[in-house]
């Protein structure tokens, strides 16, 4: 399988001495949908900034589809499309001009660029806005415009830095569908997001970065398998004054109609329903307490935070 992105021992120390990346290495395979997650300030945007040539690295190597960013930058950049976190297009330009101009930077003739801009503007629901200034677009439309712009040169690797930040649920879902579609057609996608539900829903592999270090790099399935216990929220009837006893399960009554039950991976839910039913308690609805990935993410990041804190006190 071809490697779409290879990062080796990447370091970045900013001018103020802050070490944003401490020698990270990871690979993303062609066709993958990869999530790069981490808390604020972890180094995600610095990593993607270096890959996108927007940030100068201190040391290390970056290759895009085998093209080294130092020695073969032109070819590497042709393979790469970037959707940044913040709006970075000319607010005074017309929507269509932004796309055609971007294609021009890749040496694509205007006639071909016009065809592609029509395709992507239609695909992303912006065709009616093509003649208006980009500043008149709503936030969600601006995000879609940046996605269209990144695809104008038909890159094999697409990087999206929090593409759905501030986008409403409906629009987010339609963007997910679009990203799934282009991924299915062969575009490798790397995504950073704070919506862990988004990463869980879309991505097959996941890398978690914290304090400039990769702390996890695995498949989504393997990562979720690390989760031993899930908490379910059960809406019950009739009202209870005390928590109904559930043999083998940890349960807590919250209010008089809500029961929180911790279920281990080896346990099933059937026993919960059976025991409640035997006590005359009916389960009217049920849901997860929180996103599964979110629980894992928090535990992993907390663990590294703990290690760092421990490391800090050792030095003292």
């Amino acid at each position: 399988m071809t490697t779409a992105l290879s990062i080796k021992d990447l370091r970045k120390v900013y001018n103020n001495g802050f070490e944003a990346l401490k020698g990270i290495s990871f690979e993303v395979q062609e066709g993958d949908f990869f999530a790069l997650l981490g808390p604020n300030g972890a180094g995600k945007s610095t990593t993607l900034g270096i890959v996108s040539s927007l940030v100068n690295k201190s040391s290390g190597q970056v290759e895009v589809f085998g093209y080294n960013l130092d020695t073969d930058a032109s070819k590497a950049k042709c393979e790469l499309g970037v959707v940044p976190q913040e709006f970075n297009f000319n607010m005074f330009e017309k929507v269509e001009d932004i796309l055609i101009t971007q294609a021009g930077y890749y040496g694509i003739p205007a006639s071909e660029a016009k065809k592609r801009s029509e395709f992507y503007l239609r695909k992303l629901g912006l065709w009616d806005k093509r003649d208006g200034p980009s500043r008149s677009l709503s936030g969600g439309m601006k995000r879609r415009l940046m996605i269209a712009r990144a695809l104008m040169h038909e890159p094999r690797l697409l990087i999206l830095d929090e593409p759905t930040a501030g986008v409403d649920i409906e629009l987010r879902r339609s963007m997910w569908e679009f990203l799934r579609e282009i991924n299915a057609k062969g575009t490798t996608i790397i995504l950073t997001t704070h919506y862990l539900e988004e990463a869980e829903s879309l991505c097959r592999h996941i890398g978690i970065i914290d304090q400039g270090t990769i702390i996890t790099n695995t498949s989504m399935r393997e990562l979720l398998q690390q989760l031993n216990t899930e908490t379910f929220i059960l809406d019950i009837s009739p009202a209870q004054t005390e928590c109904p006893p559930l043999d083998g399960y940890q349960a807590t009554l919250q209010g008089d109609h809500t029961l929180l039950v911790d279920v281990e991976k080896s346990q099933g839910l059937n026993q919960v329903f059976a025991q409640l039913s035997a006590q005359g308690v009916e389960v009217t609805s049920m849901r997860n307490k929180s996103n599964r990935l979110e629980e894992l993410f928090v535990s992993l990041v907390d663990k590294t935070l703990g290690n760092h804190a421990k490391g800090g006190s050792d030095h003292e």
């Binding site: 900034g49 040539s53 100068n56 709006f87 005074f92 021009g104 890749y106 040496g107």
Partner: protein
């Protein structure tokens, strides 16, 4: 990128630059036309008629080449400094940085874009000057070459200013405190032969003097300085500014973290 792709990238930047200054023509093309018309009326007609001869020509004829050159200088510089700084400020410089467009094409696109505005304003001012005086052509090639080289030189100056600028104040400091005084003292309104010998030598440090005089030579056939020296100086400064601009782009000064 192939040569054709490089040309498309260059053309894209150039068209974008031209589209920018023509879209805001009321800020870019109209003001110099009005300002220079006032110069022609006040300095050329009203005051000039009392001054008499300057360098063997009537005052209006003498100042027209200088005023054309002044327009080219301020507009070439102003175009690149404001356009490139806005590109940095609004962060759409990132559109270029992520693309395979090489740095020398980026620089060439902005510099030629700035030069086109400088030359266009120069042409507008030239046409306006025809309402006030006849225009001679002593040497066509000197006129064309020096005005083009001057536009390039000041576009490069504007680019360097924009790279270092961190606020909109920074893009007006150099034009206000350096460019304008040098232009006014660069022989636009007077022949340096009117100055005491010491100040004539001091004036020769001013690079704008060389450009204005070479241009005036192309039109009127008179100059306070040696034309060959002027060309060498202008080309030398262009080479230095171009090399420095490339160094700034390659190291990412002001545009990459």
């Amino acid at each position: 990128m192939s040569n054709r792709e490089l040309f498309i990238a260059f053309w894209t930047i150039l068209v974008k630059e031209i589209r920018r200054f023509t879209r805001i023509w009321a800020q870019t093309l109209l003001p110099p036309a009005i300002t220079m018309t006032l110069y022609f009326i006040i300095f050329g007609n009203l005051i000039g008629s009392r001054i008499g001869q300057m360098g063997g020509f009537n005052y209006m004829e003498f100042i027209v080449p200088g005023l054309i050159m002044m327009s080219v200088i301020t507009n070439s510089y102003g175009n690149v400094v404001s356009s490139f700084y806005s590109t940095k400020f609004q962060r759409h410089i990132e559109e270029l940085l992520v693309s395979p467009t090489p740095n020398w094409i980026i620089l060439a696109g902005y510099i030629i874009g700035g030069s086109v505005r400088g030359l266009l304003v120069g042409l507008i001012v030239t046409l306006l000057s025809l309402f006030f005086t006849d225009l001679y052509i002593h040497n066509f090639w000197v006129i064309v070459s020096v005005v083009f080289l001057t536009a390039i030189l000041f576009s490069l100056g504007g680019f360097i200013n924009a790279v270092f600028a961190n606020s909109f104040d920074h893009i007006s400091i150099i034009p206000t405190f350096v460019l304008t005084p040098l232009t006014y003292l660069g022989g636009v309104f007077y022949s340096i032969t009117l100055l005491p010998e010491f100040w004539q030598h001091v004036s020769q440090i001013n690079p704008i003097l060389y450009m204005v005089n070479t241009f005036r030579y192309g039109i009127l056939g008179v100059s306070d300085i040696n034309i060959g020296v002027a060309y060498a100086m202008i080309i030398g400064v262009i080479v230095v500014l171009f090399s420095y601009s490339m160094y700034l782009l390659n190291t990412g000064k002001g545009i990459r973290q």
